[in-house]
Amino acid sequence: MIRTDNTKIDVSDIQGFALKGYNFPHARFLLLELLHCKDAQSFLLKLLPDITTGGKWDEKPLTTLNIAFTQQGLVKLELPLATLLSFPLEFQQGMKARRLILYDTGKNDPANWDAVWREERVHVWLAVYAQGLPALEDTCARILQIMEHTHGAKLLQAQDACSIYLNNQPTSYEHFGYRDGFGNPDFKGAERECVPGQGKLAKDGSWEALATGEFLLGYADEAGELPVAPIPHLLARNGTFMVYRKMHQNVAAFRKYLEEKGKLYSGGKEKLASKFVGRWRDGTPVELSPEGEDKSIVADDNRNTNFTYGNDLGGLRCPIGAHIRRANPRDAFGFNGQLINRRRIMRRGLPYGQYVPDGQPVNDQDERGIIFMALNASLFRQFEFVQQQWIEYGNDAHQGNDKDLLTGNHAGKSRFVVQGTVDAKNPAFICAQLPNFVELRGGDYFFMPSLTALQMIASGTVDPR
């Protein structure tokens, strides 16, 4: 059934990971290979009751469990051929095959990925989030037991991720020292309150939730139609697509670059750092506070994402090529933001590797970075587009071939312009010879089914029509 009233969605059928950020500090991503269809199905049936849904929590659970599949995983589970072929092309191909589109070349080429991703054997992503490590270990142990008992799957790799702790408290900081996690899109039917700045711009300048169909299959999207989805309808509905990218961060290289250029930049190192991203390291949006951090803005959800670029088309406050402005241009392209509304992604990332505070020596050979995960109804139209056109290229922002400073695959050629004023204390400044601050170590595209769909997959009852 296609819902016409999109303000109510069936939260108990949707996996919780798709509907909310759990805000648990610990996670382990179990990357599994399925061995035999029947055994895999038994395994899934046993996991089913523990899958965390989007239903409201009276009390936060100790751990959560969610699951998603690559195309190869669905092939292994022997879904009908017609169904498999009805999945979007990019999902069928998998992320590795899309490398030219995504600019996963040079340092980011699959040849440099972790073996588990390079070999394309990952069938299942099983995510366990936990409030504390003991609970995490318990749950994972239980899952591994079930795996052994059913012979349903083989563990290829367990990727741990963990919030960065500062002063013994979990935070939303990432390894370059920026507070992360702002600006996830609001969509109709999602449980939480609309936060100003996270949705789309209405004609009167207020913020509205985006259409549900931008993030969940089976609901109308921003173009006024149902997003392309696999058949049968029941398999797709309440499901979504996820991209997983293990992004290694070259913290030493970043700190060195910032130090060097910060000496030349008139505003100094921290201001330059804020220009790279469009937020100061504490999260203050540069657009609202171009001269310094402002804790009161950061703390206020009504303000920390509530801004537009319409009065700053010249980039004097937030540079035109700054990271958050590239990832979500808001009204910067005119037309009241309509060119942006179908290019939003829901991020769920978490850092991995040991955090090294600023000032202490750090080695870029260490495993350290961010597990980037994003959810959207269409990988091609949303994630791939933002990655290809707005991060690795700059034409829409009128920045030519310039790439995003923070995450772009520079290959030694890119540059970033920080717009300035006629004041000698704040002139234009160009950052060139950019090294790759981030390197891709692997990942893939996943389908995150609804609970109903999961039941169908686990019991082998998927018919193409």
């Binding site: 030349l264 290959a411 050629k413 540059r415 002139p427 234009a428 400044f429 160009i430 060139a432």
Partner: protein
């Protein structure tokens, strides 16, 4: 004038292609093969007719049948479409085609009905004008510069950005001096040639002013 926008002329030529049943390989196929092997970079004939911005040659096999209840119908001939956007006036452009890349023009249009050849440029211009379609609506994003102006500007943009970055932070007197040298160098630099370079697929090491 619907064919023009500012300094830019939008020329659309529709030339019927000769149908000759006696040939093993018909004119349309020969033409397509020729076009498939023609270079598209700075060795293209259009690079020589240097007032050309963007130009295309398209074989129109037939009209399209969009499906019932629309009627199905077919063209009796195939046509060569020539769509080009250039700066300047039509006569000058056509005469340049005839005199500068006559061999190419003959190689393409010899497959078309009534083509007189470039030998007599008056006849050639008359033939092209006979095949010309009037543009109903023409949009040109930039219509007030020549191709040469534009290519020079792109060269300037790249060189200037490099200059700014290399000299930022230096004392003003020094920048002023270096800027003077920069201006001289830029002025005396040869005008960039139109069209892409054959090696541009492997742009890994940037040239200083790239």
């Amino acid at each position: 004038m619907a064919n023009e926008s500012g300094q830019v002329y939008g020329l659309t030529i529709l030339s019927p292609i000769i149908e000759d049943e006696r040939l093993d390989i018909d004119h349309t196929t020969q033409l397509r093969w020729y076009l498939a092997t023609l270079p598209r970079d700075d060795t293209s004939p259009f690079a020589k007719v240097s007032s050309t911005y963007l130009a295309r040659l398209v074989v129109l096999d037939d009209v399209v049948f969009v499906g019932k209840p629309a009627c199905e119908e077919h063209l009796k001939s195939r046509y060569l479409i020539f769509e080009t956007n250039f700066d300047g006036d039509l006569d000058t452009y056509l005469r340049r085609m005839a005199s500068e890349v006559g061999e190419f023009v003959d190689a393409v249009w010899k497959h078309c009905v009534g083509y007189p050849g470039v030998g007599n440029s008056d006849a050639f211009v008359a033939y092209m004008k006979k095949c010309q379609l009037k543009t109903t609506f023409f949009f040109a994003d930039v219509n007030d510069r020549t191709v040469t102006d534009t290519l020079r500007a792109l060269q300037t943009q790249s060189a200037l950005t490099h200059f700014i970055e290399r000299n930022q932070g230096k004392p003003p007197a020094e920048i002023q001096k270096l800027f003077g040298i920069f201006l001289e160098r830029l002025k005396s630099a040869p005008a960039p040639l139109p069209g892409g370079r054959a090696d541009e697929k492997s742009v890994t090491e940037g040239r200083p002013h790239d």
